[in-house]
Symmetry: C2
DNA sequence: TTGCGTGCAAAGGTTTTGCATGGCA
DNA sequence: TGCCATGCAAAACCTTTGCACGCAA
């Protein structure tokens, strides 16, 4: 994880500003691009991608991508309020992000380290799936049909 | 999950044949395309995607898609040999993707479902961290400095 | 014969890259 | 001044779609 050593440019500043102000949600390049343009400070797509890459590289931003046509999502990592000790569940249906404090789960960390020689970084890892609400909603939709 | 009701065509047969013979590994559309062409029985890309979609739909094939430039991965589901769904580990340092077949880990699925009402989708979930090689390399770099 | 399957090419969308220019330090 | 950053357009990729033709049942 490298240090952030780049120049401070207007574009970079605006991008980070946007990410910080939206740190509780996911964004994608398209959203960022549209938003910054609307603010009167447009930033080229290529620049957004390049800056984002660096931010991910330096550990400032989290990138995740899953199946779908939306492309990758990005989220600013709030280092002060970041929860390093638990995993996150994200519902693919409603988009809700669930913080999961659970000792049992932390044991998988040890298991993987001991048996697979791999050290998981919980702050970077998100479990994707369906939350209880959406599962119920789907079941009901099933019944109706 | 629908029944497989399509016609039996040469292309479909060849595709399934390839998937079955490579059921212990992941493939992608590009690989399939190149392989089938090399075998003297080329199949159009569009057809591969369309057939694959149906196979995923009918539960014959598993599709994984996540971060990376490789596109989605596909794997035949060997129903008789109870080939498990598995998780993926991705090294944040070297970028390597590790396929993790491990019963112990699948149990976390059950745990989360039972205790947290959340159903994880392993095909969309990737554990991020550091692989054994990179941990060793980092330790050595540490020593040197 | 009917209608699904196929192949090609074109389109769509996301991300990357080449290159000349601009701007930070 | 020396480099890195930026923008634009083009390219690269993966995947989907339209359409005419082929082929299984």
């Amino acid at each position: 994880m490298k240090r952030d050593q780049g120049y401070n440019t207007r574009q970079k500043e605006k991008l980070i500003d946007y990410l910080v102000r939206n740190k509780e949600k996911h964004t994608n390049v398209q959203e960022i691009s549209i938003y910054l343009a609307a603010e009167g400070t447009p930033v080229g797509t290529a620049t957004i991608y390049r800056q984002l890459d660096k931010l991910v590289e330096s550990g400032t931003v989290r990138k995740y991508s899953f199946d779908g046509k939306v492309g990758a999502c990005y989220q600013y990592i709030d280092k002060e309020h970041e929860c390093h000790e638990h995993f996150h569940l994200k519902c693919l249906v409603c988009g809700r992000l669930i913080h999961l404090d659970c000792d049992h789960l932390m044991s998988i960390n040890r298991h993987i380290e001991e048996h697979h020689g791999f050290v998981i970084d919980p702050s970077q890892t998100v479990f994707y799936g369906r939350c209880a609400d959406c599962i119920r909603a789907e079941a009901e939709a099933e019944d109706r049909s």
